[in-house]
């Protein structure tokens, strides 16, 4: 296998069945590692293939990735502890989301995972208190743009991002799961009510809600950037928690269709395989749009998912106004 691999199948195959890497030539390892880095999955890959025969240099790079994920885990837990300390005087127990939640709860999904920002969930009626407590403890606004700030506050499911002035780490304070303008409206209050403490003044979502949140994050929000990692999270969570009561819970959150799709795609890419619908195949095409040089490929598919992400997020007229404002400011397009 050379470096000119057309899509991220090489990465998905290695995660699903690590022994398949035995067939890789050195160029194949270079491609695999480049692809895994681009998809933020190199720490996960390193954990999966640890101990298997491979070129010594590949082992060295992956060991460094493992160690780096370990350092990242310590930093993420420290950041969560700092947030808990800042919010405790206001009587708030932050509910950890995504990567930090997985490592705090000691879940398989957290093993080797790269963790960026700290994501927490607090009740919507307490959001102002949470904001004040964080501002008082050294967090500051990231977005100076008044349009962006106003946009977040009116329409989004989270506060505008805050960054800590000493530790340089971002925090996203969510008060619900999806943007307020989204067509799907998961029951955040139910999620908060059923959250489980993990010690240290912190909590995580109950298992089924954790899966639903990951599913919402993957399919109902965003353009599937980082989708392979999010789908890996879901695969690990389902593997660990099972599916008892999951469909009912997803239905309650309006995420039944998305959960079913996540299960099919996780089976197809990371499991023993399953039948896919035509639309599923389009998702797979997007998820695998990365070549052996780590390049983003399939620009038309990517653009389609980028447009879709906005379509899901807001009604048409609002979308038009938003894109016009962003375009005037020379704002972002699909990356």
């Amino acid at each position: 296998m050379g470096g000119g691999l057309k899509d991220a199948r090489i990465l998905v195959d290695a995660l699903r069945d690590p022994t398949r890497t035995a067939a890789l030539e050195p160029e194949g390892w270079t491609a695999l590692i480049a692809c895994a880095r681009a998809e933020q999955l190199v720490g996960t890959l390193a954990e999966r293939v640890a101990g298997l025969p491979m070129p010594p240099r590949a082992a060295e790079l992956l060991e460094a990735a493992r160690r780096s994920a370990d350092t990242g885990r310590t930093a993420a837990l420290w950041e969560a502890a700092c947030a808990a300390r800042a919010l405790a005087p206001a009587g708030l127990t932050p509910i950890l989301l995504k990567g930090t939640a997985y490592v705090a709860a000691g879940l398989k999904a957290g093993v080797g995972r790269s963790i960026g920002d700290l994501d927490i969930l607090v009740p919507r009626d307490r959001i102002d208190q949470a904001e004040q407590a964080l501002l008082g403890a050294g967090w500051e606004w990231v977005k100076p743009d008044p349009y962006d700030d106003e946009y977040y506050r009116r329409w989004m499911h989270e506060l505008p991002p805050l960054i800590h002035r000493e530790r340089d780490r971002m925090i996203d304070v969510h008060h619900t799961v999806l943007p307020l303008t989204a067509r799907i409206t998961p029951d955040a209050a139910a999620m908060i009510a059923d959250a489980e403490p993990v010690g240290g003044g912190l909590a995580v979502l109950a298992p089924a809600d954790m899966i639903c949140h990951a599913v919402a994050h993957l399919f109902a929000d965003g353009d599937l950037a980082g989708g392979l990692r999010n789908l890996w999270d879901i695969r690990c969570l389902i593997d660990e928690f099972g599916t008892d009561g999951l469909a009912a819970r997803a239905a309650r959150h309006g995420l039944g269709r998305e959960l079913a799709r996540a299960v099919r795609l996780a089976d197809a890419l990371y499991g023993s395989g399953t039948d896919l619908t035509l639309v599923d195949r389009w998702y797979v095409r997007r998820l695998l749009a990365r070549d052996g040089w780590g390049r983003a490929t399939r620009p038309v598919t990517r653009l389609a998912f980028y447009i879709r992400s906005h379509w899901l997020r807001m009604p048409p007229l609002m979308l038009a106004r938003h894109l016009l404002t962003k375009w005037r400011k020379g704002g972002p397009g699909p990356g």
Partner: protein, 286 residues
């Protein structure tokens, strides 16, 4: 990608891909004596590409890419292909390296003992390293010294030496027969020319050395010297390291050990002859 070259600088292997032939040819020529990546596996991938397909031919501009990148990289003219490749390789180390603590320093070695020279851009790191190379020192690198947290040794990273503005003429006069890349004018750092390290630097690139003395040179002042206490050296090196924070406790341990074991001196110099004498004296005294 359409055109590619693989090479190893010190312990670090690179795979460089490009949409154009010219940058790859230039890199392959200047790095022709360098080995291939260890075990055939590149530590980092670098990409030189056209941000839009037509930019391959129409007013071609190189965008930098790779495993690790900074957002909003400004594209550069195709004629600066070597500079683009160098910047992209540096960026991989600066952002992605987790085995070694990266010190933004030039280094030279004699008898297995290394001098590390760090300072702001314009302090003369590259110029001094290049001149010391012509005086019997083994060049370890003009940009990064790779500190091994476990052993405390520094590993070499003898990439092409990046000479800027006046130092181009100074070094050309000192080594007229050395191999140089094309003179690039009007870059963000002014006029720039790459110098290929000598055969010894390339042959010994895999050999680490023990740090012997840490210098903080400043160009443009009357000759002066003062010892730098470990506390100050520590703080200055945290600022001169691109991955100190990312290494966490390992980075802290590596750096405290370095500043406690290795003497540090600040040297002010008015001209390169003075600086070379100061460096050699500091190494001999350490």
């Amino acid at each position: 990608m359409r055109h590619a070259h693989h090479l190893r600088i010190g312990p670090v292997g690179f795979r460089i891909g490009s949409d154009w032939r010219a940058p790859i040819d230039a890199v392959a020529d200047l790095y022709r004596d360098y080995p291939a990546p260890a075990d055939g596996v590149a530590d980092y991938t670098v990409r030189l590409f056209a941000a839009r397909p037509w930019r391959r031919w129409m007013r071609p501009a190189i965008t930098l890419g790779g495993d690790y990148l900074l957002p909003d990289a400004v594209p550069m003219p195709l004629a600066w292909g070597v500079l683009a490749a160098e910047m992209a390789m540096n960026l991989q180390l600066a952002l992605g390296e987790r085995r070694y603590l990266l010190l933004h320093a030039s280094s030279v070695e004699r008898d297995g003992r290394a001098v590390l020279m760090t300072g702001v851009s314009g302090a003369g790191k590259s110029t001094l390293a290049a001149l010391l190379m012509t005086r019997g020192w083994r060049l370890m690198g003009d940009e990064f010294a790779l500190l091994d947290p476990e052993s405390g040794a520094v590993h070499a990273f003898p990439r092409l030496i990046s000479l800027k503005n006046e130092s181009v003429g100074v070094v050309q006069a000192a080594v007229p027969d050395a191999r140089f890349g094309p003179l690039l004018t009007g870059t963000p750092k002014g006029d720039l020319r790459h110098l290929v390290p000598d055969a010894r630097a390339i042959a010994m690139a895999a050999a680490p050395a023990t740090p012997a003395v840490l210098l903080f040179p400043s160009f443009g002042y009357a000759a002066a010297e003062r010892p730098v206490p470990p506390s100050e050296a520590f703080v200055r090196l945290t600022q001169a390291s691109t991955n100190y924070t990312a290494l966490g406790e390992r980075g802290f341990d590596a750096l405290t050990r370095l500043v406690q074991r290795v003497p540090a001196r600040a040297i002010d110099y008015p001209d390169t002859a003075t600086a070379v004498a100061q460096v050699e004296a500091a190494w001999a005294a350490a």
